[in-house]
């Protein structure tokens, strides 16, 4: 499965719903999306990963890059994920200490309010 991306606005938050596989082949597409959002002044981003089926370190790098970009504007990047197989990758790498990870988009929105 390829990577699917869709964005929507929830108040002053931008939600990026990601589906499929984030790997060395598809990660550049997500990187471009995040860069575009920040370039257009969207500094509070929620990445919904509930439909992500695969994630490697290239994908992690893109998320970290996105976090750095929004932080440069005092923004935030939060994740939504309940899938154990994806959460395991974040735990292994210690990135659970870097990214706020929520169980739902609503929870992420509430957390940033």
């Amino acid at each position: 499965m390829d990577l699917s991306l869709s964005t929507r606005t929830e108040g002053d938050r931008t939600v990026v719903a990601v589906g499929g596989e984030i790997d060395v082949y598809t990660a550049p597409k997500l990187r471009e999306q995040l860069i575009d959002l920040v370039s257009n002044g969207n500094y509070h981003i929620i990445v919904d990963m509930e439909s992500v089926e695969f994630l490697d370190s290239t994908g992690l790098g893109v998320l970290v890059g996105g976090l750095k970009r929004v932080r440069a504007h005092d923004g935030s990047l939060q994740l939504v994920c309940t899938q154990e197989r994806i959460l395991k990758i974040f735990r292994i790498t210690g990135l659970t200490k870097v990214f706020p990870i929520h169980a739902s988009v609503d929870e992420a929105i509430t957390a940033t309010d």
Binding site: E21, D23, V24, Y25, R31, F54, L55, D56, S57, T58, L60, G61, V62, V64, G65, L67, K68, R69, A72, R85, K88, I89, I92, T93, G94, L95, K97, V98
Partner: protein, 154 residues
Amino acid sequence: MPTVRLQISPTPAHVRTARLVATAVARRAGVADAALDEIRFAVGEACSRAVSLHQQFAPHELVTLLLTDEGTYVVTVCDAAPSGSETTEGDPLELLDRLNSPMQRVSDQMPAGFGLAVIGGLVEDLEITDATDGPGTLVRMTWPLSGADHTSRR
């Protein structure tokens, strides 16, 4: 002799092919279903690492995967990058310090060795050695076979 030998050009698009093949062979060999995700993630990470190294150091060489299922399921990912081009030093948690450094420029590159650290976190039985027949590194990952499943699926 490996059960399956797969060679891919160092192109990101082929990494998915490699991990799908590794998972399919594992399933047929009788690896427990619970380990299949681990294999998919670990082999994907190993191939992603190898492809990235080849693009930098050996763009015309193929990345080789050797898959064997004799007693255990073993996946060996062989790259041809010069030894020492990537270190295994450091901990993924090192990233936290880098991320919090105000001087850190915006980059999507993870620290050197990060991919190997991820594989180390995923795979209990992992062996990383230098190639003996030229430049390169062998990332050898081993999983047990489930005896009952192994018998019924062959």
